[in-house]
Symmetry: C2
Subunit: 475 residues, 2 copies
């Protein structure tokens, strides 16, 4: 009897084991999908609608797209991958979106600090630009800027400068997402003698990159004080013709508002409204001196704002009414501005500064809490560029733009809240790995799409010409 019972148990065990094997095999074969990349083991901060955080979480990427985000165990069961990134001890975030910069100006970084705005422009930036801006300079500067941006977790940037076709080409080659805006400006500049020339160049530029998967070409009328009404309206018309974004500076300084009131009897916002400039897909940078009464005008046209707290502080421009923008229903993204007025392109600094500055200004330490600062640098930035269906959060169906951020340093120890740490205790240098459009562009600090030593050497070489351009000749 003992023997018969043992036999039955053995038979039963065999059946269970076989069933288990079949089930495991079924689980392993049928629902497991092979994808191109799995980022697993880290705390995934999605910045999705529910502000979901998975710890530990994982992101499954196939080709250019995110196909799943969730708890690490769940994703590991459902996907196998040809490439894996172990994010243990790190936080995985949507790639940061810099909504306002002038990439090549990294070559003027630290060239003119602590001087009046007039000196900054007249004695340093304008002479340097007059003597050094060229396609080569733009390429060299953009490579350096993109190197710095990727190294600090930025995966997309909106740009306003000259020779934007060069910026677009360099970005594309580096696997970087960008919204380069071809500058339209009234006076002669390096790439255009007249606004009409600029518009012609902008149209050619739009055509070149119209259907690109990384580059969204844009038109960038410089500002209402550097363009006449005709050129402003023509810039708007060109953008509307192709459905591309418009980038513009506005209400940055008190002097700009005062001059506008003198010349046009209107503030910059109302003047631009009066000529029919405001329209869809507009990203307006700074807005320091916008009043509450003007916000409905911007809201009506869906204008996005790029807030640049560091530049506004360093150039003493003032404090943009960011909490008021948000209350008025405006979308506010974050920017660094050019490195000549910051002096870096680190969006972690921009997040921290936005959170600190508006607490101070409002007298309320609850204003711009850490999650709001992170949203400005991600999903709101995407929305301000009209790109929130594609980027700005970690959600299935969006493009795979993400950064893996280490939380291992003494400075980040201990960690009670990953979002607090991202904003208040993390630097761009903590970013270890960056993925853009599904492609790993930096892996464990090693750049895969740019030759880092060559980019630095080239930039240092060009700095010699810049220095010479602003140094008065001695006899």
């Amino acid at each position: 009897m003992v023997r018969a019972r043992t036999q039955r148990m053995l038979q039963l065990s065999l059946v269970v084991a076989l069933a288990g094997a079949v089930w495991v095999s079924f689980r392993a074969q049928s629902p497991v999908r092979e994808v191109s990349l799995l980022v697993t083991g880290g705390t995934v901060v999605t910045v999705d609608g529910a502000r979901g955080i998975f710890a530990p979480g994982a992101v499954a990427v196939d080709g250019t797209d995110i196909v799943a985000v969730g708890p690490a165990a769940d994703i590991s069961n459902r996907f196998s991958a040809r490439d894996r990134i172990d994010a243990t001890g790190s936080v995985v975030i949507p790639g940061l979106i810099n909504t306002h910069t002038h990439a090549p100006m990294v070559l003027y970084r630290g060239l003119a600090d602590d001087v009046s705005l007039m000196d900054w422009l007249q004695r340093y930036i304008f002479p340097a630009e007059a003597k050094t801006v060229s396609p080569e300079m733009v390429r060299t500067g953009t490579r350096l800027a993109i190197l710095e941006m990727i190294q600090s977790g930025t995966t997309a940037f909106a740009d306003m400068y000259y020779f934007e076709e060069e910026i677009a080409r360099v970005a594309k080659a580096a696997g970087m997402r960008a919204v380069p805006g071809q500058t339209i400006i009234q006076f002669p500049v390096a790439d255009a003698k007249t606004p009409a020339d600029g518009l012609t160049r902008a149209e050619a530029f739009i055509k070149e990159f119209q259907d690109d998967e990384l580059i969204v070409p844009a038109v960038a009328p410089h500002a209402m004080y550097t363009l006449d009404a005709k050129s402003l309206v023509a810039s708007r018309a060109l953008a509307n013709k192709y459905g591309v974004p418009v980038l513009i500076h506005f209400a940055e300084t008190a002097a700009e508002v005062k001059n506008s009131e003198t010349e046009h009897k209107m503030t910059p916002v109302r003047y631009l409204d009066s000529i029919g400039f405001w329209g869809p897909r507009t990203l307006a940078a700074h807005g320091v001196w916008v009043t509450a009464a003007e916000m409905p005008i911007l809201r009506k046209h869906g204008v996005g704002i790029s807030h640049n707290p560091e530049s506004n502080m360093k150039l003493a421009s003032g404090i943009a009414p960011v909490p008021e923008f948000m209350t008025a229903g405006l979308t506010v993204g974050l920017g660094t501005d050019g490195a000549a007025s910051n002096n870096d392109l680190d969006m972690f600094e921009a997040m921290r500064q936005a959170a600190l500055l508006h607490k101070l200004h409002s007298g309320d330490p609850r204003v711009i809490p850490a999650p709001a600062a992170l949203e400005m640098a991600t999903i709101a930035g995407a929305r301000s560029l009209g790109l929130d269906r594609l980027i700005g959060s970690l959600e299935p169906g969006k493009r795979a733009d993400l950064a893996v951020v280490s939380m291992a340093s003494a400075r980040q120890t201990p960690m009670y809240d990953p979002v607090s740490h991202l904003v208040y205790a993390t630097r761009g240098d903590d970013v270890r790995t960056v993925v853009i459009n599904g492609r790993v562009v930096m892996r464990d600090r090693k750049m895969l799409t740019l030759d880092e030593p060559a980019v630095l050497a080239e930039a240092r070489k060009m700095a010699g010409s810049v220095r010479a351009a602003v140094t008065p000749a001695t006899k």
Copy 2:
């Protein structure tokens, strides 16, 4: 004749060669002094009286002291060294001096952000402190804080907390310079039931460290609103008896000033003056709400100010009148405050924030230029602690406290001005090597006086108790 001539030339050559050899040998043996350490090849920013910069420069250190600073070639000719640090591509600066922190509070880093000051104190910090402050907690937190400080180029810090004898011992063991101030406070705290207990402990503490070469013991009456006049005066008397510094918080919030005016019919500055509190070697932290009329009182007593821009922003305390302090002849050092209100101890961030904040506030981008921010973090900090004869600049005769800061990153490229880059483009993480009192405490990011993994593990373990202390029990 040709032959004779050749012979004479040969003889002459021999004489010249011999003379040369004798001269080289004389140069090599006689004036060359052997010292313990040479830091060579970098750009040396001395922050001395002439604000000298040597590029490339060198610093010769013998034992605890700097013996020479100058052009690299000159120093190399005059000194040989048992140890060398190659600072090529880096900037060598005086070690940064953090004039106000609460080191163990790194364990509360990010525990309570974006809440009102009342909630911050009542719901988080006070409960956490009531349940977790102990000698062990203070040791664990201080090790973590010193790790972070050394890694970010800070070589001395003034501290106000409990169990300061533990802080002093940990600092000494880590080779860190510190001015730990034993807290005197009216209500019962972890290390003292009464102010009298606190004063007794403070006196014992002063005696233990009176002649230490790294530790300068201090008395730290918490603030005018947490102590009665008797305890404030007794704190002053104790400090005067031993000639040690006094550390105190003052005029940090508008509410503090208002309450003082209600209770004492005087502002904090005037109240402390009326009871005879102000005196030599006092370092008063914050001073956000000091008026121009009060500055001469502080000046008369030689009171130093610790400016904490990041904490003042994050807690929405206000903006200290720093340019006005300077105009009034007051010495202003920089501090980070505790990591619970910052959230890090990186003095490079404090420098940048001081420079940006006062530009913004004054509306003048020339205010607090980069050299002034660097001075606040070095020589002015030393002066505010009465230690400027010993530290705060790279000069012969001072203690060798210095940091070697890399300038090689994309973020720092190109470099036109090393001082601009130190303030506007550099992070604590760029610091490669740190020397304190002539001893190399971190070399090429490797900690030599602290077991980094053990310090981090210990802190993470203790964070569990902190989290439990502020989490309401669930049923």
